[in-house]
Symmetry: C2
Subunit: 360 residues, 2 copies
């Protein structure tokens, strides 16, 4: 969470119900509002607060400004047993993403592997949510999307790509699924803002100054500079792959043609995406596959530990632990987000009462 | 090239013919020998010398030691219109990889998307070669493979995964294809060996010492330490994805079950892989797709440049330039590799005469 200060413990089901009610009040069909609430609260539960209920105010603002279509007409541009291409009509990215992944999963069960593109959508929330849908059904899932042109190519200073996230999930048997959910950049903008607020330097691998050179000054990076790719040219290469599979193959906007976004909720956020599923049962009995994933996870977990490291984690492992802890103890909403939601409730003439009797 | 010193300019077609003849003498069917020669020389042409003719001596050693089966019986374990699973019978990884990608491409033309796994193969050479096959035919290609357990998980010190490369290529129209070909680690072992030889420190993002902490000392890293993942936990997450798609889905060895390799050519090198193809023509007219890729490449190339940068490159762009230069002027073979090949020619009672009349 970016903001320091007081936190309010909130039950996930209470938060989910409130967000769904609020979005319904802003014109979303009930089912879609439920989907958005589900994905946001899942992010909060996993500790990915940057993609949780902190986004609600921005989403509502986008609806009000006409930047997000609450009642879109989803168009199927192409469809075969193995692929589909969707046009989102400027819909909630989250709603289209879930639908597209579901479609890819159904097709993968038949064909073994399938993918579905979606163009003209908005913010897709926590990208790892969609491959996790696949993993829950014993499938391998992959999701990626492009977005506003804010990060320059490696060696350049013209904002050209988004942070271009990629997420993959694998079903396991006795252990939690493996869930990789990463941006192609090393750090998120939120981490820079937090460091700037504290007056702390950032690692030299996080950001670039205005001339495109690494900087440890978060202020310089935020005001005049850029995010840095993870692993330099390697992260840029991955982001390029995401740009082509998400932005180009979908028929959507890509590169510098995607309007840059300065302020979330106030500026257009146009994204295009690809969702892929593979059914391991087309390669071996599903239980065998899951058992093999379990074995790899156990090998990794039992690695000797580097100096100063308490535990070795598999991708997504820390998030599953947070999810369990927060499912028991509630989601620690920051006071800032709590007040945002409270103000949104007032605006929409909705009752507001997220906090537990024993909160704080 | 790792070795400093004299270089000998060699014509690619001469080098290709020699390698093919040599491998035929060591029991490879002519067609397979031609494939291996083609992939190795392509690596030399692209400036990826670490995966070029420097590998020939190791391959011959592996054949002699029974670590590589020159006359394998490739088995098709499963096959549908969208997927296939192959067992390589300890074959040349390069031969099986090319065959598997070809199969994935044919299936993708029918289904839109397809993938083929291959287990029990050896070194696959320059991984980018296979997706480039797809790009040449107007398809999107992806290749990845696991291998000997030499790199510990992020935060650990038990060697568990290989450098787990991933390669993707996209067809373009008027510009060169986009070709990402990267290891999940930040630097290759060869770069550490070169720095050690020169007595130079390496960047703190390349390697770890024996306790798993970043080190700039290449000697420590080579003798007691490890390679570092690109982008830390991000590279490790990608490597995990490669391990599951390559090692687990194929039914091959994975994780610490893959024998670690200390010396290339002397120790077993067992790998498993996945090859995927997508046909953009199932999504839009191929020319439209290619034109869109061209547009993205041009946007990237025309980025303002960071301080000290002369040119912004798209993934694979530098390699295409080297390829053009070396196709004209010959491949600069190091004296070490030249002598290795010469000795192999003597051993096999083959004539040897790679150098051009005007070679230095």
């Amino acid at each position: 969470m970016e903001e320091s200060g007081r936190v309010i413990a909130v039950r996930p089901e209470t938060l989910r119900a409130f967000i769904a009610r609020l979005l319904t009040a802003h014109g979303l069909p009930e089912r879609d509002a439920g989907t958005v609430a589900e994905v946001l609260v899942e992010a909060d539960l996993r500790g990915v607060e940057s993609h949780g209920s902190t986004r609600v105010a921005g989403y509502v603002s986008m609806i009000r400004l006409g930047l997000l279509n609450p009642k879109p007409k989803l168009e199927v541009l192409r469809e075969t047993p193995s692929i589909a291409a969707l046009d989102g009509d400027n819909a909630f990215g989250i709603v289209v993403a879930k639908h597209a992944m579901q479609l890819a999963m159904e097709k993968a069960k038949g064909a073994g592997i399938a993918c579905v593109t979606a163009r003209n959508i908005t913010h897709t929330g926590m990208v790892g949510f969609y491959p996790m849908m696949a993993a829950r059904e014993g499938l391998i899932g992959l999701a990626l999307n492009n977005g506003p042109a804010i990060v320059p190519p490696f060696g350049g200073t013209t904002p050209t790509l988004a942070t271009n996230p990629i997420a993959v999930a694998f079903p396991a048997g006795e252990v939690e699924p493996i869930v990789l959910d990463m941006a192609s950049t090393m750090a998120a903008g939120g981490k820079l803002r937090l460091a700037a607020k504290k007056g702390m330097p950032v690692p030299p691998t996080w950001a670039l100054d205005r001339s495109g050179l690494p900087t440890t000054d978060p202020e310089e990076a935020l005001l005049h500079g850029f995010l840095q790719w993870a692993g330099g040219y390697k992260g840029f290469g991955l982001a390029t792959v995401v740009e082509v599979l998400g932005g180009i193959l979908s028929g959507g906007l890509f590169g510098t043609d995607v309007p840059p976004m300065k302020v979330f909720g106030k500026d257009p956020l146009i994204s295009s995406a690809l969702y892929m599923a593979i059914d391991p049962a087309h390669f071996m009995p599903l239980d065998e596959f899951k058992g093999r994933v379990d074995r790899l996870v156990r090998q990794i977990k039992s690695s000797r530990r580097a100096a100063g490291v308490n535990e070795v984690f598999v991708a997504g492992g820390l998030e599953f632990r947070r999810h369990a802890e927060r499912s028991r103890n509630g989601i620690p909403l920051s006071e800032v987000v709590y007040r945002e939601l409270s103000a949104l409730a007032d605006d929409a003439h909705l009752p507001f009462g997220l906090a537990e009797p024993d909160a704080r």
